[in-house]
């Protein structure tokens, strides 16, 4: 079973992602599944931490999300998470809601791409 390399400007750099999984379709499916099941929990935890002004937790969860998104080769979403991490660390409460919205927007773009790519290329 072969996986075609991804091309074009997408939320995910599929070339990089494929390298990361050693072009193994089984592993690609596994990491996509893990991401799809884990990210909603992390996002909920992040929203709650920001709502409760728990900056320490917000920083930690943003950090974890940054790592997850980097691993998925989702560069823009990872940058948005990194920005949130910085804001939470410097307790910039005013800027956090916009940064959260930006991250949510990036993740919203990322999900259909991941689902579509996975369904199309891995069977």
């Amino acid at each position: 079973m072969k996986i075609r390399d991804g091309v074009g400007k997408s939320a995910v750099n599929f070339d990089e992602l494929l390298n990361r999984v050693d072009r193994d379709p089984q592993l690609l499916r596994e990491v996509v599944d893990i991401f799809l099941s884990d990210y909603p929990l992390r996002m909920s935890a992040l929203r709650l931490a920001i709502a409760e002004a728990d900056w320490r937790t917000a920083e930690k969860v943003s950090h974890t999300l940054k790592g997850m998104l980097s691993n998925m080769a989702a560069t823009r979403a990872a940058s948005a998470a990194a920005h949130l991490e910085l804001l939470a660390r410097s307790v910039d409460a005013a800027a956090l809601p916009d940064a959260l919205a930006s991250l949510e927007g990036e993740v919203a773009l990322l999900l259909p791409e991941l689902n579509g790519y996975s369904a199309k290329n891995v069977s």
Binding site: N19, R20, V21, D22, D24, L27, E30, V31, I34, F35, D38, K60, H63, T64, K66, G67, M68, S70, N71, M72, A73, A82
Partner: protein, 309 residues
């Protein structure tokens, strides 16, 4: 090679696990720092570790500090793999005791190359430890018989004498000398004499308990220290050694050579001696008596003890 992966992010953990398994590593994966420290602090735990920085219970640098503090040997090569990428983070991570630092997301080839470097360092450490242990053995053991050498057996005896005096317990000291050993050397040659000494050493070792001390005191003289052995048992234990040595001829280079040993025995409880030289002197006097009484026998340094026929 076994490797520990510690990361609370399941995605990162899975990627690392698969990448490393493909590279031939035996992976143990955990999702928090406390478990990582427990695995790595075990004496037979993995010696390679990939640690995330931000983890529940104990973060990566804290794991490194704990491992460095608790586990001295064998060395564990630890690599921090984290999304923290500032110079300050790198410095702080390495200062905690990590050997290497990689920023997420990892490049599989770079990760494997860094781990190979870690393996080279561990192999170098193994060779150094092996060489040190080899030197330690040579410095403490007699090269011919493999028994403790004179310096070590006398030190061990000195320690036992002080300990038994302090605790009011008893140790038994035996000084043995192979009978007519010069004749074996003169008749069969020194190579055969050496082989006979090795065999006699083995027979003595086989006749004592695993926690007793046996050393080569001189040419054909052996010093044995029986820990926690009472006066009443001293004679029978000495007899046991004497019989073990003389039970059968030693077969060397086609010759069957009969060997016997004379022994002087001293139980520390019967003497108020603290200086090890005095203890050895008294045991030697008893050995001299055994020689004078016809050899192949045991004589006690305490005149009140029963003397064997």
């Amino acid at each position: 090679m076994r490797i520990l992966v510690a990361d609370d992010d399941a995605l990162s953990r899975t990627l690392l696990e698969r990448t490393l398994e493909r590279a031939g590593y035996e992976v143990t994966a955990v999702d928090n720092g406390r478990l990582a420290a427990e695995h790595l602090c075990c004496h037979d735990g993995p010696r390679l570790a990939l640690l995330d920085w931000v983890m529940p219970e104990l973060d990566g640098p804290a794991v490194c500090r704990e491992v460095r503090q608790k586990r001295e040997q064998p060395y564990v090569h630890m690599l921090l793999l984290t999304s923290k990428e500032s110079k300050q983070d790198v410095v702080e991570g390495l200062a905690s005791g990590a050997d290497d630092y990689l920023v997420k997301p990892f490049d599989p080839e770079e990760l494997k190359a860094r781990l190979r470097t870690g393996l080279r360092i561990l192999q170098l450490e193994d060779r150094l430890v092996e060489a040190r242990e080899d030197m330690r053995f040579k410095a403490t053991h007699d090269p011919l018989t493999g028994l403790f050498n004179r310096g070590v057996i006398v030190d061990l005896l000195a320690r036992e004498v002080v300990r038994t005096h302090r605790e009011g317990s008893c140790a038994v000291v035996l000084l043995g000398d192979v009978d007519h050993f010069k004749q074996i050397n003169d008749t069969h040659g020194h190579v055969v004499g050496d082989s006979a000494l090795r065999e006699i050493a083995n027979r003595i070792l086989g006749a004592v308990r695993s926690y007793d001390y046996v050393g080569r005191y001189g040419g054909e003289e052996f010093l044995v220290v029986l820990n926690n052995c009472d006066t009443s048992l001293a004679l029978s234990r000495a007899e046991q050694i004497r019989r073990a040595v003389s039970a059968a001829p030693v077969h060397v280079a086609g010759s069957a050579i009969s060997v016997t040993i004379s022994l002087g025995v001293l139980a520390t409880k019967d003497w108020a001696l603290l200086a090890v030289e005095e203890v050895i002197h008294e045991a030697d006097a008893a050995l001299y008596k055994a020689k004078a009484d016809g050899r192949n026998c045991v004589r006690f340094a305490n005149s009140s003890a029963t003397q064997p026929e």
